[in-house]
Symmetry: C2
Subunit: 372 residues, 2 copies
C-alpha cells in the first residue's frame, strides 16, 4: 500500500471510534422496526424520484464517467434495512438506463453493482434477506460510517444518501462540557437551546460535511454524481420552528418530565445529546462551495417531510421517531424507560400538532452534486 493509501485506510479505521458511537435504525421487521416505520422516508423517496430522474437525464455525462469499465457502481449511504433503499436504487438504475437508451447507447448498457452502506451494527441480515428477488444489479453490503472512507479511489459513479447526512460523527464536545457556555443542560437537542449550543452543532456539522465531501471526492469518478435527500432547516426559519426541531425538543422535554418525577436521572439527560443536525440550504451551499470538490447541480427545498395532519398521523410519527432513535436512547438510559418515554412523547406531540402546522414546510432538501 502506498503511504497515501495507508494513511487513508488508517483514517478510515480511526473512524471506528465514531462508528462505535453510532446507532443503527431499529432492525428486524417487528412493530417498532425501521422496516415497518419508514413510510415518511419512503414518501420523500417518491418525491425525490422525479428529481433524481431529471438530474440524471440532464446532468449526468455517461460517456465521460464509464469509459474505463462496463460496470456502473452506485452506493446508498446510510441505507438502513429497506425497503426504501431498494426503491431508491431501482429509481437510480432506471434513470441511468433511460439515459443510455436516450443517447442511443442501448447496446452498451452497463452491468450495475449496488453498494448498500450503513454502520456495522446495522441489521444487514434483514437487508439481505429482503433484497428484491428480481433485480438487475449485483448487491453488496458495505459496513462502516460514511464519515470515513468506504470505497477505493474513483470507484463510484453515483452516490445516494437519503435521511443520512443529518447524523453527525459525534456529539459536539462543548455541549457536554459543564464549564462551556455551550453546555446543553436540560436539553437533548439544539433547536430551542442557546445560540452557543446551536453554533457548536453547526460547527460539528460543518467539519463533518467537509470531511464527507473530501472522502467522497476520492471515491467518486470525475463527472460522477451525488444525490442527497436531507432533513433541513428552511432558510429564514428559526431552528426551533422546524418539524425536526419541535419533535426532538418534545422528546427532550418528555425526558425532563420523567426526570422531575424521578423516572430518569436529570444528570443523565444533561449528558445526553442527539448527534443530529438539520442544515439550511444556505449553509449547504456555503459548505459545498468552500469544499470545492463538487459543483451544485440542483438544490431544491421541498416538502412535506412529515404529514402531521391529525392525531393518527402523530401516532405514526411517534413510531417513526422511535424506529430512528430508540437504540441510541436505550444505550444511554436503558431499556426500561423506552415505552414510557414514547407514550409521553406521543401525548405532548399530539397536543402541539393541533396548534400549529407552519413547521411542516420545506423541511426537506434535495441536493444534486457533481464531482469536478
Amino acid at each position: 500500500m502506498s503511504n497515501n493509501t495507508t494513511s487513508e485506510t488508517k483514517s478510515s479505521n480511526n473512524n471506528t471510534a465514531s462508528v462505535t458511537k453510532s446507532y443503527p435504525m431499529n432492525g428486524g421487521d417487528g412493530t417498532y422496526s425501521y422496516m415497518k416505520n419508514s413510510s415518511f422516508q419512503r414518501e420523500a423517496s417518491i418525491i425525490a424520484k422525479g428529481m433524481i430522474e431529471e438530474v440524471i437525464a440532464k446532468k449526468l455525462d455517461i460517456e465521460k464517467i464509464t469509459s474505463a469499465s462496463n460496470t456502473f457502481r452506485i452506493a446508498d449511504l446510510g441505507c438502513s434495512v429497506g425497503p426504501n433503499t431498494f426503491i431508491s436504487m431501482q429509481c437510480v438504475i432506471e434513470a441511468v438506463e433511460q439515459k443510455y437508451i436516450f443517447k442511443g447507447l442501448k447496446s452498451q448498457l452497463p452491468e450495475f453493482q449496488v453498494f448498500f452502506n450503513d454502520i456495522g451494527t446495522n441489521d444487514f441480515n434483514t437487508l439481505f434477506t429482503s433484497l428484491p428477488a428480481r433485480r438487475n444489479y449485483f448487491a453488496n453490503g458495505v459496513p462502516g460510517s460514511f464519515h470515513g472512507r468506504l470505497f477505493p479511489d474513483s470507484s463510484l459513479h453515483i452516490v445516494h444518501a437519503s435521511f443520512a447526512l443529518h447524523w453527525l460523527s459525534k456529539v459536539p464536545e462543548e455541549v457536554l462540557d459543564k464549564d462551556s457556555p455551550a453546555w446543553n443542560k436540560g436539553r437533548i437537542y439544539y433547536a430551542s437551546a442557546s445560540d452557543e449550543v446551536a453554533n457548536a452543532y453547526a460547527s460539528q456539522f460543518a467539519k463533518d460535511m467537509d470531511n464527507f465531501l473530501n472522502v467522497r471526492a476520492k471515491e467518486i469518478v470525475i463527472g460522477g454524481m451525488m444525490v442527497l435527500v436531507m432533513t433541513a432547516t428552511p432558510d429564514g426559519v428559526h431552528r426551533s420552528k422546524t418539524g425536526g426541531g419541535i419533535l426532538y425538543d418534545t422528546l427532550g422535554s418528555s425526558l425532563m418530565d420523567m426526570a422531575k418525577v424521578g423516572l430518569v436521572n436529570e444528570a443523565q439527560v444533561d449528558s445526553f445529546n442527539l448527534p443530529v443536525y438539520a442544515a439550511s440550504p444556505k449553509e449547504m451551499t456555503e459548505l459545498v462551495e468552500k469544499n470545492g470538490n463538487f459543483s451544485i447541480e440542483r438544490m431544491q427545498p421541498t416538502d412535506p417531510l412529515l404529514r402531521i395532519d391529525d392525531a393518527i398521523d402523530m401516532q405514526m410519527c411517534t413510531m417513526h421517531i422511535r424506529a430512528a432513535v430508540e437504540e441510541i436512547i436505550r444505550k444511554h438510559f436503558g431499556s426500561e424507560i423506552i415505552d414510557e418515554l414514547f407514550d409521553r412523547f406521543y401525548q405532548k406531540a399530539a397536543v402541539y400538532s393541533q396548534m400549529d402546522s407552519s413547521y411542516k414546510k420545506k423541511n426537506l432538501l434535495f441536493l444534486a452534486l457533481k464531482r469536478k
Copy 2:
C-alpha cells in the same frame, strides 16, 4: 442492460431457488456457533497459507491483471461468519503485497477491496461486527449463492473458497425418487450407499462445478486466480473410507437409530439427503480441463482435515459438524431432535475413532487455478 447481461442476471436470480434451499453455518457467537466451532477449518487455512503464498509468488502475473485500475479485488466465497475468512483474506493480501514489493512495484501498491460472500441467510451481522478493526482493505458483504453470478464481468483478481465447494446447489433429484435405482433409502449421504446413489451425487457435482467455473470465468479477469481449499476423497480411496464419508454416514445411522425407537419418522430420513460432495483430485482435474476456462497451476492433496486422535477431539469434531449442518437438519426434522441426535452421533463416532485412523489422510485438496 444488454441481452446477454440480462440473461445472466436472470440466471443469477433464478438461482434464488437454490439459495432458498441452502443453509448457513450456525450464526452468532454462542456455544454451537460456526465462529466458535471452526478450528478444523482454521487449521486448514493455516496449512493453505504457505501454498497460497507460493502460488501468488510464482504464478500470479500482477502486471497483466491490474493495468486498468489501482483496485485489487478479492472475493471469499462461502465465507461464513469469521474469523477464518479474515485470516485467509489477510494472507492473500500480504502475499500480493509481497509480490509487488518483490517486483520493485512498491510505489504502485493497489488499494484492496475484499468481498465476503455467502448465502443471504448467512449471519452477516456477526461477520461485519467482528471485522478486524485494523485492516488495510475495504470490506464488502455479498449475499448470494456461489452457484450463480455474484459480481460484474472481469471485476475480480483473486477468488478464494475454503470448505465451500462441497456444497451442491441441490440434492440430486434421483436420490429422492422412490422409483429410481438411485433412491437413497435409509441414508442421508452417498458414502456407503450404492454406486447409483454415488453416481447421482457425482453427476450433480459435475454439473455444479462446470457452472461454477463458467460463472467465475466471467467474473475473474484474464490472468486472475482462484485458490480453492476443498474437502476431498483421496484418489484410490473408497468414498466410504474418508473422514467426511464416515462422519456423515454416522450421522445418518444415528438418525436411523432414532427412527427405530420412534424419535423421528423413517420416511423423513428417506427424504433427507445432505447436498454435500467430496470430489477426488482426479475428478477435479477432469472437470477443470473439460470446462476449459482455467489452467491448473497447483493441485495438492493434503492433510489433516480432521485431527481425531482421541475422545476430546471427537467432542470437538461433533461441535464442528453441528455448526455446519444443524440448520439444514433443523429445517427438515425440527429443533427438538437436535441435541439427542448429536449426543448419539458423538457416542457412535467416538467408538469408531478408536478403531481406525486411516481415513484421516489426504482429505483436503488445495487447488490453484488461473483464468486463461
